[in-house]
Each structure stands twice: as C-alpha cells, then as structure tokens.
Symmetry: C2
Amino acid sequence: MTSETRWLSTEESAAWVRLVALAELLPGALDAQLLRDAGLTHFEYGVLMALGAASDRTMRMTELASRTNATLPRLSHVARRLEERGLIRRFPCPEDRRATNATITDAGLQLIADAAPGHVETVRSNVLDALSPEQLEQLYAIAGAVLARLDPDERLAATSCQFSEGPAIARAG
Amino acid sequence: MTSETRWLSTEESAAWVRLVALAELLPGALDAQLLRDAGLTHFEYGVLMALGAASDRTMRMTELASRTNATLPRLSHVARRLEERGLIRRFPCPEDRRATNATITDAGLQLIADAAPGHVETVRSNVLDALSPEQLEQLYAIAGAVLARLDPDERLAATSCQFSEGPAIARAG
DNA sequence: TGTAATCAGTTGTCGCGTCAACCAATGCGG
DNA sequence: CCGCATTGGTTGACGCGACAACTGATTACA
C-alpha cells in the first residue's frame, strides 16, 4: 500500500526548484510588459493573435478556448472585456446556433501589430537570448516530454502560430 | 530608432510556445493535486515547507516572502488563512518589534508530512519521470540561464529545501 | 534629542479565473 | 415526433493575488 516514497535526489530537487521558479516568474514577466506597453494580458494577447491568424479572422469560442488553453468560462469573460474595448466582435454562428463566433476587429489587429515587436523583444531578452542553439533544441525536447505528461490531449499543441517569425498579421492600415 | 524587430525563427517559436504552455499548465497541475489531497495551494505548501525546514520552525515574514518568491501582502494574506486553520502561528519578533515571526504548528507539520509523498509522486509522474538524466541536467542549466535574466536578484535562488530528498521535516507524532 | 526617511507588516479594493448553475440548441433513441 | 442526454456558451459568486494606502517601529542625521 504505502509504497515507500522515492524522495527527490539532490540533482532532481535542484532542477525541479528551478523549473518551479521559472514557471512562477515567467507569466508575470510577460504580463507586466504587455500590460505596460499595450494594456493587454499575455492571455488576451494570445487570444487576439489566434484570431488574427485564423483564416477569416474568425473562430468559434470553443476552438479558441482550446487553442489558447483556456476554460470556456474564462474565455467568455475575456471575450466580453475585449468586445467592450472594441478589439473583437462576437456573433452567433449561422451553422450551429448554439455556437458563437469571435472576430478580431481592425482596432484589434492594429493593437497586436503594435504590441508584437515589444513582446518579441521581451521574449528574446528574457529567455531566448540566454540560450545557446543546442539549449534551444534541448528545451524544445524537454518541454515536449513534460507536456506529453501534463497535457496528454495536447490541446495546446495546436497553439502554434502564437506569434511566429513574421508579422503573420497583416500590418493594419 | 525602430530597430527592425527580429522575429522568431521556426525553432525559436516552437520552443517558446512549448515553454509558455508548460509555464501555464504546471502551476495548475501542482495546485490541483495538493488542493485535492491536502487542501493546500502549492504556494501554501511551499510556505509550510520553508517553515518546517527553518532551524526553529520559525522565520520572519520578510525572509519567508523572499524564500517563497512572494510579495509581502500576498504572504500576509496567506499567513492569515494558515493561522486561522491552525497550521502556523504569528507573533511579534522580540528583537525587532516591527517584524513578525511565523512558526509552523504541529498540525502544520503533520499536514505537510502527510502531503509530501503525494506531491513528490505528482512531481515525478508529471515531470521528472519524463526526463532522462541528461535532460535533467540540461533543464537545470537552461532554467538557470533563464532565471538569471528573469530574476537577476536571485531572490528565489535561496528557495532550496523546497522538499528535497528526505522528510527533512520530522515525522510529527 | 528631535525629525525625517525607511523598513516591516497589515488591510482594503479591485480584477481575473474557477466553479457551479443555468439556458439554448442539437442529436439520438424510441 | 417526443423525450433526454449532450454540446456550446453565458452568468454569478467566490477566492486569491496585485497594488496602494496606511500604521508602527527603527535608523540616520542634524
């Protein structure tokens, strides 16, 4: 029954502590920069980016929630705020009248186009610039391995396009 | 002025997306298990562990906040709740009457002693077991490099002892 | 010694995310 | 075609963390 807990070795503990610290500090750092420079949460930014990358700038709420790794209530609240700010619009889906479609507005596109450079710079200066090319590859593998445990359904594996290499989003204007 | 943003390469973007996903999912997974099995947040667990590892089971609030990487207001709120639950006690520090000392109670010790095995198991099954020894070492280096950027003051570098290899906490009873 | 600046900690307010409850539409078995 | 489960989404209440304002003690400095 009580299968003698295997406590962490010194190496395991050291790596774990650092990972936890990283996981705790990173979101705050991302939010801080985006809030300061664009008035957006990192999550809101991700939502807008996902919509901006969608084929017709439109996505169903459920799909969007899945892509951004959010619960539906959370997305619903965020969507309401974004809509109030004129960054997205919501309207009932014609095909399935239960569903709601969300579309990013021109103002929304403009906002993320303006915000993207600063955000990328933050990502570089806080994370990527600290890593060698080998480490980048290792990070990819390690995070992948952990995510396979943490998120077996790979809901967010779909979360590509986050803000890839180019301004995939048309430079509004 | 507008120094042409260097967008992320495909490799960079892929690694980054995974890291962000990891940072977003990990805290929730830790909280979920601990809340379910011990009624504790991962942060509360960390606070209790830090106190349990302190020389006389006692620590000043500021020191504790630093060790757990929390703001003082946050710790104050959490300490109030923990005290209400009888897991810690607070009393003014004799030497510096501005300061407050927090001590973990026997009930608190008992709780983390009971909770630790399940938590370690979660850490193993969700993270450590997914990694090879080489990857563990790589993770240590990578997280260290990023933390140096993210947390230059290394406030949480002190956060050792998180729940290292043994029941450093005396098996209450 | 007296006054200003700083430190340690608490408290209140606000915003966000979770959870549970709810409504509406769809699909499915009879 | 009718009931019933399921899906899609919204809403409201609650809890936690951030921030700002505040109290009280200590130090610095004149």
